[in-house]
């Protein structure tokens, strides 16, 4: 009586067909990247060593290590974070705790979406026009970092807002009923409950900032410098730009050198993203409400 009709059988078959088709597409999306990562490791792995990470490039950048570039990336990222984290968190607090649901908030959101969508090279032009020339910082770590800070600001705002939104409204109401002001509530109740989520977003921003190349090319990163930066007004080398330089601009580079640089860069970025994801999952498991 409940034998499968031929229509049912056909429908099941169609369903399975599509399931397999979409699974293949997912796999085909992931496979090339795994092959690419494997190639990077195979070709660049041999050069990675303590010396590679902690010595200067020598012989017109065809030999030696990447230390100045590594250090420069840390400088740029650190200064960019100093600017974008406080600003991004404050902006997220405004959007989630103060702003109403109206046209003005919509415009702010549109601006954030556009800030994330403007091409990186346009951010670079802005950095040149504003920080290098108008504010007179010259090509410096400061100019490069501020350019990157503005470019990655949406990452901080969006992730902070998500974690603020996850704090139940009842927490705030309970605090207000005790006579606390808005800011007291935010500082004592909302932020402590959201701080780990905010941290996840910051790690993500570090990863984004580390990999960006175009915005720092003309604002503060140099192809090669014989000295290390002493202050934020110095130029510096940077890992991402260094990869571009050794891959395209320098003749006679041994094959495994750019692969090694690419491997270090991608390892840094993926490591930070993995930490961020793992942290997020741990938090999700721990959440009590």
């Amino acid at each position: 009586m409940f034998a499968e009709s031929s229509l049912n059988v056909r429908n099941k078959r169609v369903q399975n067909l599509f399931r397999i088709l979409f699974m293949m597409m997912t796999i085909l999306l992931i496979i090339p990247v795994i092959i690419i990562l494997g190639t990077l490791i195979a070709k660049g792995g041999s050069i990675i060593s303590f010396d590679f990470l902690f010595t200067d490039p020598t012989n017109g950048m065809t030999a030696g290590g990447i230390f100045p570039a590594l250090l420069g990336t840390i400088w740029i990222v650190a200064v960019a974070l100093l600017a974008s984290v406080p600003l991004g968190i404050a902006a997220a607090i405004y959007l989630n705790e103060y702003a109403g649901d109206n046209w003005f908030t919509r415009i702010i959101q549109l601006a954030i979406i556009n800030l994330a969508g403007v091409p990186s090279i346009v951010h670079a032009l802005f950095g040149v026009g504003a920080f290098v020339i108008f504010f007179g910082f010259g090509t410096s770590i400061l100019a490069a970092s501020l350019t990157l800070a503005i470019m990655t600001l949406p990452v901080v705002i969006v992730s902070t807002r998500e974690s603020l939104r996850a704090v139940p409204q009842a927490f705030r109401e309970a605090c207000w009923n005790m006579g606390a002001t808005r800011w007291q509530t935010i500082r004592r109740v909302v932020l402590p409950n959201a701080v780990s989520g905010i941290l996840t977003g910051i790690i993500l921003e570090v990863s984004r900032t580390t990999g960006e190349t175009a915005p720092i090319m003309f604002t503060g990163a140099a192809f090669f410098l014989p000295f290390l930066p002493q202050s934020v007004f110095d130029q510096t080398m940077a890992l991402s730009l260094h990869l571009f330089v050794v891959a395209t601009q320098v003749p006679g580079v041994p094959d495994n050198l750019p692969f090694g640089v690419a491997l270090v860069l991608i390892a840094m970025v993926l490591l930070m993203n993995s930490i961020s994801i793992a942290f997020r999952m741990y938090l999700r498991g721990k959440k009590k409400w």
Binding site: N11, Q15, F18, R19, L21, F22, T26, L29, I30, V33, I36, T39, L40, G88, A91, I93, Y94, Y98, A99, I107, I108, A111, I112, I113, N114, L115, G117, V118, P119, S120, I121, V122, A124, L125, F126, G129, A130, I133, L153, T181, W183, Q184, T210, G211, A214, M217, F218, L243, F244, A247, T248, P258, A262, L265, I266, V269, L270, N273, S274, I277
Partner: protein, 310 residues
């Protein structure tokens, strides 16, 4: 109780809540408000500053006809420099177009598989993987185009040079696909479960639920995902700089090298003197890029919001 207050006070003291905490609160409120509108300030700032730098060119050397319709980008010609971006637009468009041909089917397919078919651990790990793929920096993608795809294309298609539309298109497609996948998956997730349950209650198979119910309901969100992918491809700089071959050329086939708008700025800005017509022309390209991506993002946002309201 360490301090006791008199029960009766004059009303002026009693109802005046402007104590120290109140002023702190107001102060903080104005600070976060300024931070809140900073995104607007920056967007306007970007437009203003690139326009200031490009203004001289717009006033003097700019000719609408030459800029948009001439295929010759010869800014360093001493006698008669020409600033035509037609070939550059063609380069950007061909690479982005090919990238979308690669990315759209795969990212939508992957989004449907992750969002509708996969469950539990498989789904979680696929999502993590897609997120990690989206994090690979563009300069690394460019390097992959240069060092892995280039010899591969030369071998497989037996062409002399592997830095061309095909190379950059595939690289850009692989780059854009993870981002499009996660946005498309969000769009599928936004379809209420009761739609699926209603269709299943009518005896539909999972595929019928997806095809007849979920996809039509998520149509706008998926379109938004595609548009954001286009915007991303349009604005990508380092990967196209390294993988296109960087030759000013209107492509006749996918094996022709091209040059993109973004890559032109990246390659030439360092060589030009501040304030020269060439320098200003590069900023004018920047204005053009800014306006195009602004329109793409605006459209995507309006489309996605359209369904939320309706």
């Amino acid at each position: 109780m360490s301090e006791t207050k008199p029960l009766l006070q004059s009303p002026s003291v009693d109802f005046d809540h402007r104590n120290f905490d109140w002023y702190v609160d107001k102060f903080i409120q104005s600070i976060v408000f300024i931070a809140g509108i900073s995104a607007i300030i920056f967007i306007i700032g970007i437009f203003v500053f690139i326009t200031i730098e490009g203004f001289g060119f717009l006033l003097e050397d700019f000719s609408f006809r030459e800029f948009f319709l001439s295929p010759f980008w010869e800014p360093s010609d001493e006698d008669a420099p020409e600033y035509g971006i037609l070939a550059l637009v063609a380069g950007t468009a061909s690479v982005t177009g090919l990238a979308m041909i690669v990315a759209i089917p795969f990212s939508l397919g992957a989004a449907i598989f992750i969002g509708e078919f996969a469950t539990g651990k498989l789904r979680e790990s696929l999502k993590v993987l897609v997120e990690l793929l989206a994090a690979i920096p563009s300069v690394v993608w460019g390097f992959i185009g240069l060092s892995i795809m280039n010899p591969l294309i030369i071998d497989v298609f037996d062409v002399p040079v592997g830095l061309n539309v095909l190379n950059a298109g595939i690289i850009l497609g692989l780059m854009a696909a993870p981002i499009m996948t996660s946005i498309a998956e969000d769009a599928l997730k936004a379809v209420p479960d009761r739609y699926r349950e209603a269709a299943e209650a009518l005896g539909a198979t999972r595929w019928q639920v997806i095809f007849k119910t979920v996809l039509p309901a998520a149509k706008n969100g998926l379109l938004g995902a595609v548009l954001l992918g286009v915007g991303r491809g349009f604005g990508e700089t380092m990967a196209v700089l390294m993988a296109t071959g960087h030759a000013v050329n209107i492509p006749g086939s996918v094996f022709d090298p091209v040059r993109a708008l973004t890559a032109t700025i990246a390659a030439e800005l360092g060589e030009t003197a501040v304030g020269s017509p060439h320098y200003q022309a590069l900023f004018t390209i920047g204005i053009f890029l800014f306006i195009i991506t602004f329109l793409i993002n605006l459209t995507a946002d309006l489309i996605v919001r359209g369904i939320r309201k309706g």
